[in-house]
């Protein structure tokens, strides 16, 4: 069962790669299309005018190309979405088999934790995509993040299955860790539209230097910004609850609700930064760009807590499984 789970992870990574390539192809073909499309209206005008006047207009080979290339781009994008869905199913299968093999929730170490967080991220993405198909082009960035994180988990963080240490053997394990994982997954997904918005808003303001040009194909900045806020507003109370649940558990396990253990300290930092984001977002005098940067900063603190604290510091939350 454990080996099966490992295989599922490998195939999930491959499927994410396929999805990423699909989205990238859509991006690339999209560029071709715009080049043609910018040229096409002129010809179409000629064609439209020439419909009445019997002057032989130049045969217009480009509209079919436009259609075909647009159709291809769309197809590539849909393949990307399909591959993401397949990858998500494989990802879930990997988690379930891992949990079955270990006979517990698969959140016992950093490997399993990252695997679950990324799954929540991709599941949230698919839900949002279901409701708002126009956001499809964000998929390139999302699948990129997924490939990076899941591959890191597989290559760097992998540990064999072991049962939980007694300190983790509590129903608070399920309550605290599941909510932390869930909130982290939404924050992980939330950073995608946040970065997308930062690039896109720069692009919409006429910036044509490197990172902004990537945003050419992205949905409108305002929509990305609203999605960013919605995701963070959704995740923040869950994160707050998770931290409170952690404090209740810490009181029972370690005798104090809060002890500034490195993990607790970084959870505090993340909470404060995200609270700062929500305040900045709600204040009209703060520019949306500034607010969104705060959200990105918040995600960096979450990453720091996910990887950095386990690797660099020792504390009571040392369940990473790496030595």
């Amino acid at each position: 069962m454990s080996a099966l789970s490992d295989n599922f992870v490998t195939f999930a990574i491959l499927a994410y790669l396929v999805a990423m390539i699909g989205h990238a192809v859509e991006y690339a073909l999209g560029n071709v299309r715009t080049q043609v499309a910018t040229a096409a209206p002129v010809r179409e005008l000629v064609g439209a005018g020439g419909g009445v006047v019997p002057t032989p207009p130049a045969p217009v080979p480009s509209p079919p190309t436009v259609d075909r290339s647009a159709g291809r781009a769309r197809l590539a994008g849909l393949i990307g979405v399909g591959a993401t869905a397949v990858a998500a199913v494989l990802h879930l299968a990997a988690l379930v088999t891992r949990g079955l093999a270990a006979d517990r929730m698969p959140w016992g170490n950093m490997y399993e934790f990252v695997l679950t967080v990324t799954f929540i991220g991709v599941a949230a993405w698919l839900v949002v995509l279901w409701k708002r198909p126009s956001l499809r082009k964000l998929g390139l960035f999302l699948t990129l993040v997924m490939v990076l994180l899941v591959a890191t988990a597989e290559l760097v963080l992998y540990v064999p299955i072991v049962p939980l240490v007694p300190a983790l053997n509590s129903y608070w394990f399920i309550i605290h860790v599941s909510t932390i994982v869930f909130a982290s997954g939404i924050f992980l997904f939330g950073v995608v539209p946040a970065v997308g918005f930062l690039m896109r808003s720069g692009y919409e303001q006429g910036k044509r230097s490197f990172p902004y040009t990537l945003a050419k194909r992205l949905p409108g900045a305002a929509g990305l910004e609203r999605l960013t806020f919605a995701l963070h507003a959704f995740a923040f109370p869950i994160f707050t609850f998770a931290v409170i649940a952690g404090a209740i558990w810490a009181e029972a396990a370690w005798g104090r609700p809060w002890g500034w253990d490195p993990k607790e300290t970084w959870a505090f930092i993340s909470w404060v930064v995200y609270a700062g984001y929500l305040h900045a977002r709600a204040t009209p005098s703060v520019k949306r760009n500034v607010a969104t940067w705060i959200a990105v900063l918040g995600f960096l603190t979450v990453l720091m807590n996910l990887f950095g604290v386990n690797i660099f510091f020792t504390g009571l939350h040392s369940y990473g499984g790496l030595d």
Binding site: A167, P237, A252, V272, V273, V309
Partner: protein, 547 residues
């Protein structure tokens, strides 16, 4: 601190006749402090200030690591110490940031609380004259009942409704501001809860060896280390005693712990006598204290028989060294060894001490320095014998777990031999005295604590969460209806009846307001003509205004 534009418009302060410079300065500073900008900056300072607390070792968490840091960085450590870098969360600058933040918070929510109470008691405002200017606007045939029927529909949908003649004003979503204020107020309550805990709480750590004669009673003297809050006196500690009857631990084949359980007898004036079990994650809850199981280990029982034939037993705990196999180090000291029973004369240079490493599962071959498994599969005690003046009488405080190395360096204590003992084995020393390894007792490491602020902390965290949800998901919005006679000149299909003009105003960021507005208008216009409400709303062409 959130939605600034949600505040009712307050009139600009009237120009003062005699501006007092000091007052003006104070007022401006107060305004600066309570501004959102300052609050955001303080939030970030707080986040940044917390970082060194995770990077540098902290006295409150791991004092031994702080000492290590001093050894490793002799030039940096004292400087860092001077600015409180090893006690970040109690340092002046960290406290300054959060106290300023909370002052800013109070300064911000107090006027908002006042405004909100006023809003809750006031009625929705009158409809604006030109409703077409509102973000949502539409004109439809009015329902037959007129304003009263409209108001009825709105009330059913839990709007706060005010009817003024032909006008209906309604408002909803007060929960947003209520939640917001609740959230921020409960943050203050959390801080108070923490403060209560540190003022009136106490805690102590202690090792408890199994056995009736090793019982521990909750007094200040019985703790190796105890922290009492400034408002707690030693006499305030609840009186109870604990005796460790049994300790059970199960491990996996890899040595990873799987299960712990400690059985104790609780006794004492403040507690009924009883037997109780507790474990990691489920502490023993007493009336005014909780007992937490932090660790466990072995206390080797060592009998020393001196040259006069007197036997003494040491069963002090050996401290675990942190490895999987519970390799433990400790000291068995016999300062009263070799006292002449005839004269009662002490021989200060004839005291005995044994430092040792205890291996619950010793390897098959030397070196016998590391245990291979945490349970006693092949117990062995590696002892080093010392004879001389242990320095215990000098009154210099020393660890009970380590031999005073100063005495060794001074040549007052001499090593006299080394031997590996199995359970029940006896070692005869050079002077004919014997040392015997009788077996082991289990011990547990306990943390005993009382935090009177924890209930307040828990309740305020619950309120905080509820408030947060209200604040994030509540949406304040207003709708206005005005019933006007239809203009017969227009020749509309409904001429002769009356029309209603509807306007909607989301008072907070609310992308879904247009949908809700459409639905609401449909419900109102279809109130007494069931069915075609939605159609008529569509026909009227609800238009989304530019915001």
């Amino acid at each position: 601190m959130t939605v600034v534009d949600d505040r009712p418009e307050t009139a600009a302060p009237a120009p003062r006749r005699r501006p007092n410079r000091l007052l003006a300065l104070l007022r401006n500073s107060w305004r600066q402090l309570t501004s959102m900008r300052t609050a955001l900056i303080l939030l970030f300072l707080l986040a940044i200030a917390a970082i060194p607390g995770s990077v540098l070792p902290q006295r409150g968490i791991s004092p031994e690591k702080v000492n290590e840091y001093f050894v490793d960085h002799p030039d940096w450590a004292p400087r860092l110490d001077r600015i409180g870098a090893f006690e970040v969360f109690g340092s002046v600058w960290f406290s300054a940031i959060y106290l300023l933040l909370f002052t800013s918070l109070i300064g911000c929510i107090t006027p908002r609380l006042r405004d909100h109470v006023r809003t809750l008691r006031s009625r929705p405002p009158a409809a604006p004259k030109r409703m077409a200017r509102l973000p949502q606007h539409t004109v439809l045939p009015a329902p037959p009942g007129g304003a009263a029927a409209i108001a009825e529909v709105l009330r059913k949908r839990r709007w706060r409704v005010e009817v003024r003649g032909d006008e209906v004003s309604a408002e909803k979503g007060y929960l947003k501001e209520t939640g917001n204020l609740l959230f921020h107020t409960s943050l203050i309550a959390v801080l108070i809860g923490v403060a209560l805990g540190s003022w009136y709480g106490w805690s102590g750590n202690r090792l408890l060896v199994a056995g009736a004669d090793k019982a521990f009673c909750n007094t200040r003297q019985q703790y190796a280390e105890a922290k009492l809050g400034p408002q707690v006196d030693s006499a305030d500690l609840p009186r109870f005693c604990l005796r460790l009857d049994d300790f059970e631990a199960r491990f996996l084949a890899s040595g990873q712990p799987e299960f712990f359980n400690a059985t104790v007898t609780v006794d004492g004036p403040d507690e009924p006598t009883r037997s109780a079990d507790f474990s990691v994650n489920s502490p023993l809850r007493l009336k005014d204290a909780s007992v937490y199981l932090l660790g466990h280990g072995y206390a080797p029982v060592i009998r020393y028989t001196d040259r006069f034939g007197n036997s003494q037993i040491s069963d002090d705990p050996f401290l675990t060294t942190g490895d999987m196999g519970l390799t433990s180090e400790g000291l068995a000291a016999f300062p009263d060894a070799n006292v002449d029973p005839a004269t009662g004369q002490r021989a200060p240079d004839q005291q005995m001490a044994f430092t040792g490493i205890y291996l619950p599962t010793a390897p098959e071959q030397a070196p016998f320095v590391r245990s291979q498994y945490p349970t006693e599969r092949n117990p062995a005690l590696n002892l080093v014998a010392y004879r001389g003046n242990l320095g215990l009488d000098a009154g210099i405080p020393g660890s009970v777990y380590q031999l005073d190395q100063r005495q060794v360096r001074a040549g007052k204590v001499k090593e006299v031999g080394t031997k590996l003992l199995r359970k029940g084995e006896t070692w005869k020393l050079d002077d004919g005295t014997t040392v015997e390894f009788l077996g082991t007792e289990r011990y547990v490491t306990l943390s005993i604590r009382h935090d009177p602020g924890s209930t307040m902390l828990l309740v305020s965290c619950g309120v905080l969460l509820v408030g947060l949800m209200g604040s994030l998901f509540g949406k304040r919005r207003r709708v206005f209806f005005r019933v006007v006679p239809a203009d017969p000149g227009e020749g509309s299909p409904t001429s002769g009846s009356s029309l209603m003009e509807v306007g909607g105003l989301p008072r907070t960021d609310y992308p879904g307001f247009a949908d809700e507005f459409t639905q609401l208008v449909a419900a109102v216009s279809g109130a007494e003509r069931a069915g075609d409400g939605a159609d008529s709303a569509e026909r009227a062409g609800v238009r989304e205004g530019a915001e």
